[in-house]
């Protein structure tokens, strides 16, 4: 079925012609197929050009990480220095802190973030009043559409120790609240992760809800006949149905483990919590773009280090998932 135009012809022709066709086939057929698909290639032209320029060219430009960038010489003319910039990053006295901060935020987010949408989806499925369930579902979606800037300002307004939301609500119960969580390094990852759950739980649940709707009803009926109660049915029927999707999500998240949400971190960062909120991407931004004398090669090396680790991780985890769970992204 590779090409529609070539295939029907041999049927109409004599045997000899078919042999002839086969002899010159490969090149001719490819050429014919290309010609047959010229409109499709026309459609692909712009998107592929875009990919080449805006995605592949920066990859090629990442070689600046192995050179010593001088604005006069540009990317292509600067001198090669090998792994010097990588080594400089590994030797940097805050290297360990930056790596640990990055890992802490993402692993924390991964562990806490996965169960909530799953639980929400199950709750919604078993909500006896469908209208009520639908209403709750729509409410939980809403924060997804909030921008990072607004999200961070909501966090600030919620946690404000003077007249923030938590302060006001606790005051109703006569509880004094005077923690400034955004100024506490030890609270940074928690604030980051839990506000993230608040924002994305509902939206992430959509996929699980859809999967649960697709679970065969007869399985549940059979289990009920066998005397399984709701909790048992959830554990043995619904939960297994969700596992493949959870695995895919975990693979994706592992690939992004060094990729802590840059915008949110940067906006939540202040001089008081900086010791806990400096992650790889904010460091690259500060040294490479915001600085008055950007250290181009060095920060490119740091960024490349992050990309390569992410790529290796996603590759390895996907391999493992394919081997042991028979699941894969590609």
């Amino acid at each position: 079925m590779k090409s529609k135009k070539v295939k029907p012809e041999p049927v109409d022709n004599t045997g000899q012609v078919i042999i002839n066709k086969k002899q010159k086939s490969r090149w001719e057929r490819t050429k014919a197929a290309f010609f047959d698909c010229w409109q499709l290639y026309l459609l692909l032209l712009l998107p592929m050009l875009y990919m080449l320029v805006f995605h592949y060219f920066p990859m090629y430009g990442a070689q600046i990480a192995f050179r010593d960038y001088k604005p006069v010489d540009g990317i292509w003319g600067s001198e090669w220095v090998g792994f010097e910039h990588f080594i400089r990053f590994f030797d940097y006295y805050q290297f360990k802190d930056i790596m640990l901060n990055t890992l802490e935020i993402s692993i924390y987010g991964l562990i806490v973030g996965v169960p909530f949408p799953v639980i929400l989806a199950i709750l919604l499925k078993y909500c006896p009043n469908k209208k009520f369930g639908k209403g709750v579902q729509i409410i939980t979606y809403a924060p997804h559409f909030i921008s990072v800037v607004v999200m961070v300002s909501i966090i600030m307004k919620t946690l404000d120790p003077r007249n923030g939301l938590i302060n006001n609500v606790l005051a109703l119960f006569g509880i004094e609240y005077n923690l400034n969580l955004l100024a506490m390094p030890e609270a940074f990852s928690s604030v980051y992760v839990w506000s993230g759950i608040w924002q994305t739980m509902g939206f992430s649940a959509i996929i699980y809800i859809a999967i649960l709707t697709g679970v065969d009803v007869s399985l549940h009926e059979a289990a009920m006949v066998d005397g399984a109660n709701v909790v048992q049915r959830i554990r043995h029927i619904d939960f297994p149905a969700l596992i493949p999707q959870i695995t895919i999500l975990l693979i994706l998240s592992l690939g992004r483990i060094l990729n802590v949400g840059f915008e949110k971190t940067l906006l939540m960062q202040n001089s008081l919590n900086a010791s806990a909120s400096e992650v790889i991407s904010t460091y690259v931004y500060k040294m490479g773009i915001a600085a008055s004398f950007p250290d181009v090669s060095y920060t490119s090396a740091v960024g490349l280090f992050q990309s390569v680790i992410a790529f290796i991780l996603i590759f390895v985890v996907n391999k493992l998932a394919r081997k042991y769970g028979e699941m894969s992204l590609w």
């Binding site: 490819t30 060219f57 909500c127 709750v136 939980t140 990072v148 009920m224």
Partner: protein, 312 residues
């Protein structure tokens, strides 16, 4: 076990008619309780922002606004109109969102459709060419250098062109084309001498409303909320999108031109409260359009997301 069997088999036949009190009843009670708590936790901060935007700044600052707006006023909203850069920000964001989304959807459909056609030679290789960039990228700095070479720095086009195609959206759109458009249509259209582009325009697009709606919403929300590119690449305030201006107002805490000279204490206090109200009302005004857009697309949503999640 036997007890359970008796208790549990009954409701099936009567189809959920008044069940007796058993462990399942407790379960449903917990379900309700958790859902109510979840809804409250998510709704309350949004409600708080909403009521604060209508309340007098002094009452909000005193921490008195908890359930309902107090001393209802529209001063915060008036302050938006009087602000020297918010209206421009709105205009810019609107332009970036509309033009950016149009570019996105056209690019996405072109690529997704071509890659959905099985006859395309080297289809898998080309798909990989697109998909690979989801797993690997050159990094922030080489990208910055590239934009500099392309003269995209401080150029409003930086809000549209670099994000012209979202790979993930392209992949789900392609999957939708493959899964939801019957092959028989293609065969029939080919018989009638329909060209590839003709088939896309006359048959595929009219049948793909759900996925077009979903990716349009995704892209539009992305543009509306975008601030990263603007922060890094735009330096002229006239080009600033709303989110960047909001960052200054909400997070950096940049005040309205406030020269304290010539003002009485009362006036300074009033301005401070106004600043506070402006923060709340600008959150409401900036977030509302996307929240309003969503219900129109909602009916397509599960369908669109589901198709995208299935591998293909």
């Amino acid at each position: 076990m036997v007890e359970n069997l008796v208790k549990n088999t009954k409701p099936i036949k009567t189809k959920k008619s008044k069940q007796e009190f058993n462990s399942d009843t407790v379960f449903y009670g917990i379900v309700y309780a958790l859902l109510i708590v979840t809804a409250l936790i998510i709704l309350y901060p949004l409600w708080y922002i909403f009521i604060s935007s209508f309340s007098s700044g002094a009452r909000v600052a005193a921490g008195e606004v908890v359930f309902w707006p107090l001393d209802i006023t529209l001063d915060g909203y008036k302050a938006i109109l009087d602000h020297n850069s918010i209206p421009t920000g709105f205009k810019n964001t609107f332009i970036y969102t509309v033009s950016g989304t149009v570019v996105n959807v056209v690019m996405t459909v072109m690529a997704a459709y071509a890659l959905s056609r099985t006859k395309l030679p080297y289809r898998n290789q080309i798909t990989l060419f697109f998909a690979f960039t989801m797993w690997f990228n050159g990094g922030m700095i080489p990208t910055y250098l590239l934009y500099k070479d392309l003269h995209l720095i401080d150029n409003p086009l930086v809000m549209i062109i670099p994000g012209a195609l979202g790979i993930w959206n392209m992949v789900i759109t392609r999957t939708f084309f493959q899964k939801s458009i019957p092959n028989e249509l293609l065969e029939a259209a080919t018989m009638d001498g329909c060209s590839d582009i003709g088939y896309l325009l006359k048959i595929v697009l009219p049948l793909s409303k759900p996925i077009i709606a979903v990716i349009t919403l995704y892209y539009a929300v992305g543009h509306w909320n975008a601030f990263f590119n603007a922060m890094i690449y735009l330096h002229t305030p006239e080009y600033y999108p709303l989110q960047l201006i909001m960052r200054d107002i909400l997070i950096v805490g940049q005040n309205m031109e406030m020269s304290s000279s010539g003002y009485t204490m009362e006036e300074i206090l009033y301005r401070e409260n106004l600043q506070n109200m402006l923060q709340y009302s600008v959150i409401v005004v900036s977030t509302a359009p996307m929240l309003i857009l969503y219900p129109f697309v909602q009916k397509y949503f599960v369908q669109g997301i589901m198709v995208g999640a299935l591998k293909g």
